[in-house]
């Protein structure tokens, strides 16, 4: 990707955004009736679908049950047709497992698991050309839809660093270019970080700026998700004939 200019001299990115601008986000809650909670999110071309079951009794091995809190079980799979080359297995490969683990860590930090001891919450996420950020945002909406109590929204966003400028919300092209990439999941109200992950090397002097860009973007995501949730609640209450 030698010739690709990720940030032009005029300050535009490849797709026409400026450095701090997010991709277009569209989201919907309650897309599946049979699940306890579900949500669909589109961030640019990345589409993620999340479903939540629970809290319910532990399924399978009872030994996994935790005495003081609920078990959060996360599974991630990506559609076989979602990436440049067609994948053989939709889930169960290393990358999906890693993503599942990360999601689990994130949501254990956000869900008030101690309210549901000895029970299990299942989050299944499916994403096209998935990124961690889209998955988290979709899952947040799905968990909210399921009515599971949380400390706060979990909003995630990625950020990169090109030519001394931090770029918020990387697109696929920008990710593929191979620069440093930082994924951040934030609890916006308290400003606590649920998960922070970074690929490639970045000088520590720049870390703060990239982190700030990601956090700002996550707060922007929060405003959007909040609006989606309110819209959903309004619709639901109309349906209930309030």
């Amino acid at each position: 990707m030698a010739g690709l200019e990720l940030l032009s001299d005029q300050g535009y990115r490849v797709d026409g955004r400026r450095a701090g601008e997010l991709r277009k986000i569209q989201a919907r809650m309650g897309v599946f009736a049979q699940a306890d909670g579900s949500a669909y999110i589109e961030q640019g071309n990345t589409k993620a679908l999340a479903v939540v079951y629970g809290p319910h009794e532990i399924r399978g091995s009872r030994a996994r049950a935790l005495p003081d809190r609920a078990l959060v079980n996360c599974q991630y799979s990506s559609a076989t047709f979602s990436t440049g080359e067609r994948k053989r297995r939709p889930h169960g490969d290393r990358k999906s497992c890693e993503m599942g683990l990360q999601l689990r860590q994130t949501f254990e930090a956000a869900i008030l698991t101690q309210l549901h001891p000895r029970s299990q919450i299942d989050i299944y996420v499916q994403a096209d050309g998935g990124t961690y950020a889209a998955c988290v945002n979709a899952a947040t909406l799905a968990v909210l839809d399921a009515g599971i109590p949380m400390r706060d929204f979990v909003c995630a966003c990625s950020a990169g660093f090109v030519d001394g400028t931090a770029l918020a919300d990387l697109s696929h092209v920008e990710e593929a270019a191979g620069g440093p990439q930082l994924a951040l999941a934030l609890l916006p109200a308290s400003g606590q970080i649920a998960l922070l992950e970074m690929d490639a090397r970045l000088h520590e002097d720049h870390l703060e700026r990239v982190l700030e860009a990601a956090a700002q973007a996550a707060r922007d995501v929060h405003t959007l998700l909040d609006r989606v949730v309110r819209q959903h609640v309004r619709e639901a209450s109309i349906l209930l004939g309030d």
Binding site: A2, G3, E5, D9, L22, K24, G164, T223
Partner: protein, 1059 residues
Amino acid sequence: MLQKREKVLLLRTFQGRTLRIVREHYLRPCVPCHSPLCPQPAACSHDGKLLSSDVTHYVIPDWKVVQDYLEILEFPELKGIIFMQTACQAVQHQRGRRQYNKLRNLLKDARHDCILFANEFQQCCYLPRERGESMEKWQTRSIYNAAVWYYHHCQDRMPIVMVTEDEEAIQQYGSETEGVFVITFKNYLDNFWPDLKAAHELCDSILQSRRERENESQESHGKEYPEHLPLEVLEAGIKSGRYIQGILNVNKHRAQIEAFVRLQGASSKDSDLVSDILIHGMKARNRSIHGDVVVVELLPKNEWKGRTVALCENDCDDKASGESPSEPMPTGRVVGILQKNWRDYVVTFPSKEEVQSQGKNAQKILVTPWDYRIPKIRISTQQAETLQDFRVVVRIDSWESTSVYPNGHFVRVLGRIGDLEGEIATILVENSISVIPFSEAQMCEMPVNTPESPWKVSPEEEQKRKDLRKSHLVFSIDPKGCEDVDDTLSVRTLNNGNLELGVHIADVTHFVAPNSYIDIEARTRATTYYLADRRYDMLPSVLSADLCSLLGGVDRYAVSIMWELDKASYEIKKVWYGRTIIRSAYKLFYEAAQELLDGNLSVVDDIPEFKDLDEKSRQAKLEELVWAIGKLTDIARHVRAKRDGCGALELEGVEVCVQLDDKKNIHDLIPKQPLEVHETVAECMILANHWVAKKIWESFPHQALLRQHPPPHQEFFSELRECAKAKGFFIDTRSNKTLADSLDNANDPHDPIVNRLLRSMATQAMSNALYFSTGSCAEEEFHHYGLALDKYTHFTSPIRRYSDIVVHRLLMAAISKDKKMEIKGNLFSNKDLEELCRHINNRNQLCFLQAAQHSQKQSTELFQCMYFKDKDPATEERCISDGVIYSIRTNGVLLFIPRFGIKGAAYLKNKDGLVISCGPDSCSEWKPGSLQRFQNKITSTTTDGESVTFHLFDHVTVRISIQASRCHSDTIRLEIISNKPYKIPNTELIHQSSPLLKSELVKEVTKSVEEAQLAQEVKVNIIQEEYQEYRQTKGRSLYTLLEEIRDLALLDVSNNYGI
């Protein structure tokens, strides 16, 4: 944030080979239009440059025009150019990074009136590509649509001309919108710029070469060269270690056969190759040109070749290769070129006879570049006959695998062959130096200082600065007649008995605001260029020779560093940095300062400041000054000793000064005399530079500009060690300390030149000193090897070096940071600084541009040649001189001539195969015979049994003559005429060794030159002094090492040449 997201999401699909990629594309209502006519400047939020408002029309080149005629669009006369993003992207994709960067720099350059309009991100300008529409059609349509929008955006107030090469587009759009005209580029030039002759010529030449290329591609030749591999293969190959990446360096003396690839950064670390890779022959070089970044594949070991050790003239082709080459070294062939570093080349057309012999197609002509390392270039022109006697600039367009020579086109004429102006212009072009006079806009920023409105110290500045005018005795020591004095010194005793040493540097940054026009210009020039008889200033003369020059007796702004030193041990107790106002009391020149130091007070009459004083105050002032110079020397000795303790190197340089006689002919070449006071001043400057480096690094650990000098590679020292062994010395090269010590010990009491030669060899082994940004390098790499300092920078010559200006700004920012004040203006970030460092290094140094230094060397050679040209070698006594052998080759020896500072080759075997022999009277003759080369001697045996042996460091007598060349610069030729040292006739001896006579000579010459000056307006004497000061030695890397010590560290070990 939120509002900005109100964009329509559009999916744009590219039909790839097998793969369909969907990319997002965001549009926005407001894209900066950079036009002063913009109706809603707030919404467009312009930052950066605007188009100027005084143009009659805007011109929008379409994608094809931008690709093909960018050189013409670069003309500063063409104004109001709007580059559409679509066109720029087409350049990026189809013409590669080099051309695109050229375009980017054009857009960044504040002096060019052109802007980029991001039409593809504008809501109304963006047109999706339709099904089945070709890329070219879509690009043209987009650009036209954007042009129409732009016209309406400016409320129809400015007509727009879109230039295109597409006839269909002209038909289709030509009369569609009123106010937006669509015409061809040729048409545009004819109608709007009928007077711009240069542009027309360039346009014709580009058109013709393109036509040629088209014709050629239709004819199918046999392939002369293998095709280059595609980029992906190359990159993968480099990663896997199969191929090696490096910069191609053609051997100047065997341009046809030998080239070397110097390994670059990453790849050299992985592989265990230490030396360069040899590329043997033009076939293996595969169309790469000197300076290109190439990818090389190593040949199997049994095909490895050695480099030729025999001397070889440029014009003789493969003759020398029959002789035994040295040990085989890694040999490879070029498989691809990563980056072409083609530039403008100076060429000469073949003379009339040659043209005729070239035969059938008179339009295609092979021209010979001035630089030996560049292959002949084929250009098509009808002007061949008229251009015969001129030096001409051409540009290479392409080099197809089917063609033996590259294709190029003619750009402009420089001057007649052999004419001094033309030759100097040649040197400038060859080193990519442009010397346009300062523009009006730049001069407008300059302060005024005329007799009517003299420049004064402003009261605000007076308050902010420390006033040293009354309290300190400030003086400068410079070469005689120097105009740009940028450093002054002071020393005094404080009340507590301690000493205070002050270095005061001209405050250039006060006058040159960051990113002003003059700043941009200075950054591009990066340094003042000193050629043998002229100089090209970095800053306009109102600054360099007047307001920033710390002349005697006038108030000037300065940036000062003052150290408090212990009275006895000279330990540094305290240091103060800051802005000051000074008034230099004396403007001394070196010779006078030295006389004062030696206690010879008779020179007082030469110092103008003392002239109008009465005897008593004169005596008092003189004592004060002598005390100050003495103290300064003391301190400098002390500091120097400390540095020597850490292993500072003292290296050898040969300084020659050109003397011109009254007719501006070169009168004599005189070696320069070193003085202790030179060293004193240099030491103070090194001290100042060192402390500033420490300061700015502490304040800005990641964005300070420092200067490093990496330790040399040990293997480069092998030649030095061998040579020293021949004389029975041992050179320990393990560290700079041991090297310095063993060089001091390697002194032959009978022959001082041995030591000088050893030192100059040591210098050649050194790496280059470089500017760098501290953010890009680990701290242990900051070390300066030559000066033995842990941190070093350039601070003391802001008038002639841009790096010093940057350092000044950093120092000022560091001071305000200490005072907790806000830092004014933006400092360079690490990345920008790195880029700047690279630029300055290129300008200064021995990367392939080598501009400043190389041009100096070439111009000196030019003068040397002109000096010897007029002399008849047979009769003129000066053309015969003493020479020392410093290296041995299979068919000759390399000689050093201390008298003139010339290094060159002399053959022991001539072209007819005859070898040299010396009879009993030691005069040499050519006789049939053979040569035998040993480690440190060479023996020539004639068929009749006589033999003569030359050892390393033998003295011989040589005759110097000139070998004229039509296409290239003239070269100096040496011929051994006797194997005995040259006996200098008595008259000359007196003439040479008597300093009195010499200084008279200098005076005489200077006086006569002053007369010539009136007529010429070129201040030759000053320049000559400058030249003497900055003129560097012939050793290549010597300059870079020694430039920090500037004029002074170039110490001659012996003053008695020729004895």
